[in-house]
Symmetry: C2
Subunit: 213 residues, 2 copies
């Protein structure tokens, strides 16, 4: 396995994994890169090349064992264990995240909720008593957590992230709609539907223009 695997490849692996999980649920035993590519609108060559960074999982003339490939991807992505997360910011968005049922079946557990607002601290949300954000550093020293989920307003996102980083967090999933900075050793992903919409409208604007000359 080469040491430097392109980031763009790594970002596609979860997509493959998702699809394979579904195919496995449908009871299929074998799948070809062609079929995977058709379902994902990517070329079969890309899928084969991506997988080849990690090993030789297919059988010539047959394709890939769905079970085998799903397991390999679980292994590669580190999904054989559960991951603990803390959620900071228990407003509208934070509550929605806390009650989202998509994390747990995939191995991601929100183990504690934090907020800075005294009105919210102490209340119970999705079965957790909301803790004071000032306790973050002490709590994480006590029992480390890998991933911080940030759902505070944009204007507080950077300070909360600095706090999480100071407390030793290794990765951050940030829902706040703004650019934030983290040190190199911290993984950052942003979830921002408005950014997605704004690249959509770029295209829609031009489609509209083309139709109305």
């Amino acid at each position: 396995m080469p040491l430097e695997i392109p980031e763009v490849v790594i970002n596609r692996l979860p997509v493959y994994y998702r699809l394979l999980s579904r195919i496995q649920g449908e009871g299929r035993a074998v799948v070809s890169s062609q079929e995977l590519g058709d379902a994902l609108a990517v070329t079969p060559a890309q899928i084969r090349k991506d997988l080849s960074y990690f090993g030789r999982f297919g059988k010539q003339g047959r394709g890939y064992s769905v079970q085998r490939l799903t397991e390999e991807l679980r292994q590669i992505l580190g999904l054989e264990r559960r991951w603990r997360m803390v959620l900071v910011g228990i407003g509208h968005l934070g509550r929605a995240i806390a009650s989202y049922h998509g994390f747990e079946p995939e191995g991601f557990d929100i183990i504690a909720l934090y907020d800075a607002d005294a009105e919210v601290v102490g209340s119970t949300v999705s079965g957790h008593v909301v803790r004071d954000a000032s306790r973050l550093e002490a709590d994480l020293a006590q029992e480390p957590v890998s991933i911080g989920v940030v759902a505070v307003p944009a204007e507080h996102a950077q300070e909360v992230i600095d706090m999480l980083v100071g407390a030793g967090i290794q990765a951050i999933l940030c829902y706040a709609p703004r650019a934030v900075q983290v040190p190199d050793h911290v993984e950052l992903r942003q979830v921002d539907p408005v950014i997605s919409l704004q690249s959509i409208t770029y295209h829609l604007t031009r489609t509209l223009e083309a139709e109305t000359p």
Copy 2:
């Protein structure tokens, strides 16, 4: 302006726009590509090159007028008008989306909610009476809407998308955690925090291994 602007460039423009809006709110008049790059962790050359696809907005020796560049990006991205969206799927996730306050200030209006569940249809959510999903095609024929937001369970996402596409929708923002297919002329963006987490864990797994040899 060249005809073929790389998709990757277009996807960065909303990020620049976000940052510039903030800088403008702070009252700054001028900003350099160096400063923008520092705030976004990209090279100044990349920002200059990206912008150069669309025009020459800067002043040598000075930088960019924040006001001018913000306006140019609004124009380029099609953000000078408001965009109408319909939301399909009024479960937990759909309700959170319906009540999310981040769309409206950026010019995105959810104008109608749809669900297939008779229990939900007719109820009022975030000020809208939920309509029956079977009315989608007729409603969109009556008053066209550009963007469909899909928040139904994974197993229904493809059929809902097919329905929206059949009704003439031009773009889809899909929150359902699965791969879906749309025709070439429809813009698709997926919002999927679990996919983001699964590329995070790839890296965390390796960081952990490196620390524990």
